[in-house]
């Protein structure tokens, strides 16, 4: 990583701190796993030891498929969400009901994992290599969804940043904020853990500015050796600090190689954690097994 660039981006003090947790080069120039390297056999053993009751909760935002209405019956211009279904003709009478899906993976209403090549800064991607070495118009050649298409199993830790409510607009999520959340429920984030964050923001609301991560918040995730970040909030909309736009993606993905699960919905998880008085669990990410992509829709399950 070029120190100047990062210093310009986040200020020299934070830059030095982030530099200390950057993973560019840590696992080699060909690394495709990023922070998934933190998930060792020991971490997974700890993960399954959390699953004792058989109770589970989905962290995927529930979504209705949008329908493409066939021609003559089409409404003028229906609103389309991230997953659109075109129902197939299968004969008359029909042999089956089936559909073709059109999926806009990184849509802010669709819970999804970001591959390490998703965010590009100065035409470079994790671990600091030129984009054309990782992507052509034929697909992502390295650093694609292959890193997690076989599934991720780890221990999950739930941090509720605004129990029972919502973070204020434009609230800056720093390391201290995350420390406070840990202290509140007495949890400790261990290397390889997946961190699930609730801010109380579920939807972008026209005219309102969400809370969002600061570079210092991203540094904290690096320092803790978090494997996956999953939240109902990530980078703010609109940008919190024009000097440091979208640090969770531009620093987290590009410098830390931090696998992100955007647009998760921890609403039900918050209730179950409160009910059980437990804030750690086994977490499973099992997206469809397709390689060569910049991300995949996913439905993380927290299993107690």
């Amino acid at each position: 990583m070029n120190d100047n660039t990062l210093a310009q981006a986040v200020g020299s003090a934070t830059a030095a701190a982030i530099e200390a947790v950057s993973n560019q080069g840590r696992w080699g120039a060909d690394d495709e796993l990023g922070t998934l390297n933190h998930i060792t056999d020991e971490v997974r053993a700890r993960a399954v030891s959390e699953a004792r009751l058989g109770r589970f909760v989905s962290l995927g935002a529930r979504l209705d498929a949008s329908a493409v209405i066939p021609g003559p019956m089409a409404a003028a211009s229906p609103p389309f969400g991230p997953v659109v279904a075109t129902k197939f003709y299968t004969g008359s009478p029909p042999m089956s009901m089936a559909e073709q899906l059109t999926v806009n993976t990184h849509h802010p209403q669709l819970t999804h994992l970001d591959a390490l090549t998703h965010t590009v800064v100065d035409n470079k991607v994790y671990p600091g290599v030129p984009l054309p070495e990782r992507a052509t118009f034929f697909g992502i050649t390295k650093g694609s969804s292959a890193a997690f298409s076989g599934g991720i199993v780890s221990r999950g830790v739930f941090l509720d940043l605004a129990p029972g409510g919502r973070l204020p607009e434009r609230f800056p999520i720093t390391g201290a904020v995350l420390d406070d959340a840990c202290a509140r429920t007495g949890v400790e984030v261990l290397p390889g853990d997946a961190v699930v964050v609730r801010s109380g923001w579920r939807e972008l609301e026209p005219g309102r500015a969400t809370a969002g991560f600061t570079p210092d918040g991203v540094r904290w995730l690096g320092e803790k050796s978090v494997s996956v970040y999953a939240g109902d909030i990530g980078d703010s909309h609109p940008i919190l600090d024009p000097e440091n736009p979208t640090p969770l993606h531009r620093i987290g993905l590009v410098h830390l190689g931090l696998v992100l699960c955007d647009a998760a919905d921890p609403t039900a998880l918050a209730e179950v954690c409160a009910e059980l008085g437990r804030y750690t669990f086994m977490i499973v990410f099992a997206p469809m097994r397709v390689d060569g992509l910049t991300g995949l829709p996913v439905n993380p399950l927290a299993i107690f």
Copy 2:
């Protein structure tokens, strides 16, 4: 269910046997869960007790995304698989790499779950209701992917029908064949279990006829109160018995309400089971959380 119809389809003896395990009406005319009703708290508790090591294996068939090549660079006519990626322009220089996916859910190369409305017989779907009551061109109104979009957790049992090899062409999978497989490794299928079957057939091969389920095999799954069937084989290609085409779909889905996971790949599972000498495990299905569909791509994980 109309006895005549079924009797015509499978012969009166089998018809009576299937009638005995049919779930049409069992959970009411509005049931949307089918055999997922078998997964009780007790079943899930048994499931998590199987996850002790933290080792896991994917049952999803690994797939490379097909690429839509932009216009002038397009090859004449590339072969397209079940998941096609159209890479987005995000500005110059690009802000991110992202793509739009086109997914043919029920494609024989894509591991996926079938919703209970997927198969239509005589214009009716599970639990024996007219298709128009369950589907319009706006989407599936009842009996859709909503049944499992929040995830499925159960105990999995692995049955290898052809250890180290492959079933013969056109081999009929009956209840006795499944009993033999259980006996071979000493496993017992309990109510609510997900059964994972390996036949050794992974791809349709031009000019070759696969093995496939018989009505009696389906009866066996009903008798055992299996919650989910996942296999590298299901109904044969081409049809095994023209009098009883595709019994796993036409009887399993429509009469038993049996949730099917088509086109799974248990190759790696077979190796891990053999290595560990264990044929039961926790199984997790966590497809993207989209409702209103006839199925969803899925990547089942077997966790030991």
Copy 3:
């Protein structure tokens, strides 16, 4: 055609009149051209004789492409029209700008031609054959867009049913209404002519009922041996007469084999005709040349 069915549909008097102009069987059981059979060399010679000035006007409704916004930048749920563009990544820096289009051909905002198999009545299509003989899930095998994908050239005649205004809501378009329009400008519709109709309805308006064709209006088109009907109005929305729904499609396409150009926009044509004091012209339909479809987007040009 079965007399009973048609009589039930339109009443026996009209049924007899339509029967008299039905083209089912007229050009044989394998006919794929329908009323395009009326366009003879003589008709085309008359057509080109109308093009003398070099002035032309488009009858296609102007449309902006809807954009699929790439993932992270996606608005929540933008409204999507009939033509959606996904812009391609072509490298960084980009070699070219290009896009993939998703087209909902029969959408009411997209000017398009209907192939003769588009409308299905009682599982039959023009010229009265069972749908499965004309369509499989591989495509339309007969009676597809191939009939006109090579282009249509004929004489066009403009009939303005509501000069300077708009037909009343639910106004029934009969043969007499069409005769009146001809008389108003002194035009005569000759065999093989394409008729362009303006009603003043351009958009479906929520809560309002459009004007629309009656069976008698369709009979008139048949009697005149019209080759193509193009209008800003066709069948009414909602249905004018529940006993005779959508006669332009169900009688025109299915019984007359009448090629329809839905959702045309004759606004500019009306102005040019008035300015020139001429209501006949050369008309050219030149959709993209793709066969096997139920219709094609088109931009008819009236050339004076």
Copy 4:
């Protein structure tokens, strides 16, 4: 235009010659029409005077739609062409047959018009402006398909570069070659004419190198004030001269603002011209009327 850049690209002599015919700036910094500016009322009057017989021929390459086969019936991986049809479910029984099209506009098998923003050189597009001023990920804001979505009518001139045969592999098309073709049939290209070129190359053939344009050939088109270039050949595949890649696109589109019709099929035209002994005709381009795009599928008609 920067002389250095062009000189580097094509050599200083040719650069000067092209500079002389460049249209960058000619019609202002906001020009969106390019060479369509050459089509005056007089040109159009000349055009219609060519249409006397009513005989016409399509220059669109005939194409079968590729079908998306619904899930369970899907073949493994069918080859997909430029236009893919997904057939809609419209109820059971079906109300109509309809489909959703996926169109790869600039595909080498689909006859299409290029908008002036299609080709990007050094992040700039016609008339020499930075790409971001003309394109965002919402669409093309200026210089889009709007230039021709209302239709193009002009005089067409047919130049057969290889009567009865095919140009040799890697044959360089220069101005002299075009002059020869004109002389062969005694035609003169006038300002505003659309030129239709036949080389005898219809398909890219693996392992073979097509003929293609040289910068000098492009200069010739500029010198003649051609409005539209339509050909079965354009830039060679693979690139003829690595120093001057794809001159028809990189010089023609970007410097001349020359509207291109790629992948036309003049096979039938050649026959009709020979039969009639006429090499000029009225030409009509009437693509679907959609604005904001980098190109549109089109079916040019030559009308005699």
